[in-house]
């Protein structure tokens, strides 16, 4: 990756996302955060401009972008609002298993109508008793003739109350643990699918998150992705693909925090001069920009690795883990730079800390990322 410059095409994509973030997302970010409003009109605009379904090939009506180009876009969107970005990219997470594990027939059947109009989708893996240890999930898929009956509960699912399609991970036999896990595509309209109430969250409040109850939901065999028992591997490969975009999302939040802190420091005066001239603030800003640059470059490198066809587990885990920790730290320092004003909801920085926190938790908590990183690292020394 010797050349770090973007092609004119990449600059155009980045500029499109930046403009959308600035003109459509940022002006409403504070209000949606305060009222936990789900701004469907903004998501529809994102869809209209081609900013949703970024990973779906153009053949099926998506934007067909590689990982690097997706990261360029996601960072810009997250700079506008982390919560809205989470809902926008949740489609990519939900549809990735269909791309990786679905047959051509399934891809056409699910993806083409989905991408032809505005739709939201959800990725259903997490359950009340299984987050990091996804292998112990308990939603069962009981064979019934040529169909399956799905029963169980998924929780903390992004977009669940609004999605028209769920990619659900179940088990055909809990005793098989991860070897029993099987993935299905379940339409919202199926009988027995009951999304729960919106959760009241610390951040990402423009994104809608809830439980999904599945009560004997009948799903035909044709809607199973791959074979029984291939679901766990499918989930892991999916997360390998999407992890870098969380690195980009976290980088966007961190960049926003840095922007606010740096501008403010030039204007606010204490002890007779702008606070940017006090060493305490200079050191903070220096640490913040180092973290932002590192987060971005680690994310770029991971995305580039994946675009070359490699699995990129080590690189993408490093990117996600580092960028999310960086976002939290940079947002924290941004609040500190603003002093008392940073603590007030009227100012935009405290929201960034609340939004940054989730990036350390979802799509693979950072503790798990670290064990994965260690495992991948040690492979080279074994």
């Amino acid at each position: 990756m010797p050349d770090f410059s973007l092609t004119p095409e990449q600059e155009s994509l980045r500029d499109l996302a930046r403009k959308f973030a600035k003109t459509e997302m940022a002006p409403h970010a504070a209000e949606c955060d305060r009222t936990a409003r789900f701004p469907e009109e903004i998501y529809r605009k994102a869809y209209d401009l081609g900013l949703m379904n970024l990973n779906v090939p153009a053949d099926f009506g998506g934007s067909g972008l590689g990982s690097f180009d997706q990261c360029l876009i996601v960072e810009e969107l997250a700079h506008g609002c982390g919560g809205m970005t989470t809902s926008i990219i949740a489609n990519c997470l939900a549809l990735e298993p269909i791309l990786l594990g679905g047959s051509r027939e399934q891809q056409e059947r699910f993806l083409t109508p989905f991408c032809a109009e505005y739709h939201l989708a959800s990725f259903g893996l997490t359950e009340p008793s299984s987050g990091s240890d996804a292998g112990t999930l308990r939603t069962v898929a009981r064979r019934d003739g040529d169909d399956y009956l799905l029963t169980g509960e998924k929780c903390f699912i992004t977009n669940a109350p609004h999605a028209s399609l769920y990619t659900v991970f179940t088990t055909v036999d809990p005793k098989l643990r991860h070897k029993g896990i099987t993935a299905f595509v379940v339409p919202r309209s199926a009988e027995g699918v009951v999304p729960g109430k919106d959760e009241e969250k610390m951040g990402h409040r423009a994104s809608s998150t809830s439980t999904i109850h599945l009560e004997n939901v009948r799903v035909p065999k044709q809607d199973r992705l791959g074979q029984e028992g291939e679901g766990f591997s499918l989930a892991m490969r999916t997360l390998d693909q999407t992890r870098t975009t969380i690195g980009a999302l976290a980088t966007g939040i961190a960049q926003a925090a840095l922007d606010h802190a740096a501008s403010y420091s030039l204007k606010r005066e204490t002890f007779g001069k702008p606070i940017s001239e006090h060493q305490a603030i200079q050191i903070k800003l220096a640490n913040m920009v180092q973290a932002v640059h590192a987060a971005r470059l680690l994310t770029w490198h991971a995305a580039w690795t994946i675009d070359r066809g490699a699995r990129g587990t080590l690189e993408s885990s490093i990117a996600k883990c580092y960028a999310s920790d960086a976002a939290l730290h940079v947002a924290d320092e941004a609040i500190q730079t603003f002093g008392g004003y940073g603590y007030m909801k009227e100012y935009p920085v405290e929201k960034l800390l609340r939004d940054a926190k989730l990036t350390q938790i979802y799509e693979g908590a950072n503790e798990i990322q670290r064990t994965v990183i260690a495992r991948e690292l040690l492979r080279e020394y074994a």
Binding site: E9, S12, K19, G50, L51, A58, S63
Partner: protein
Amino acid sequence: MEIVVCVKPVPDPETRLRVGADGTSVDIEGVKFVLAGYDESAVEQALLLKEATPGSKVHVVSAGPAPRTEEVLRASLALGCDTATWVETPPAVSPDPVSAARALARAVAATPHDLVLCGKQAGDDEAGLVPAALAELLGIPDFSLVVDLRWDAAASRLRFQRSTETGLERWEVSPPCVIALQQAWNDPRTAKLPAILKSRKLPIAKVPPDAGAVPTGASRAAKFELPPPRTGAKMIEFKTPEEAAQKLVQLLKEEAKVFP
């Protein structure tokens, strides 16, 4: 209806201006050039006219150096223009308005046109000379301060209004003519992602600049200056409120030159 729209790449309006190394022009190092302001509205207007009259085509034309001119043409294609023509001029040099008009005239003359649309002025030099200069070269009338532009297909006429100080003038004109649009009064669309990707592969016709006509007069940049940093207000001394008012109005008129 065949519509030609002329655009110019200009520094992004949010750019922090810096003086270039030789002190005569703006520093373009790292500056992003975009389609903006009145030009962006002109493209939008062309596309609206195209949509209102089926079978119409929009041809975007620009004269300027690589790579910014090509980028602005691609941005226009991504918005929905049908063809793009580039008159490439020497690198890093923005042609002066009359040279730009000459370059554009070559491209426009070679393209079918009922209407030549321009923005009122570019966001950088703000000369506002190209529309009339272009019209002079093409031998057709030009109209400025235009708002509310429509094409009456049945009568084959352009109908528009000019927003002047004395009022709104109504005009009806047979094509072709050059129209310079007034304030950015429409809401320019945003190019969608698939169109942006597609525009990278569309052809851009190239027309060489006319080496023939050598200007007999030239306007050379001699200095580029930014306003000095603020050092605190000039406090107005007065004995009566009326005196304060008079002094302030005088300063705004003669010193600051911002009095309306």
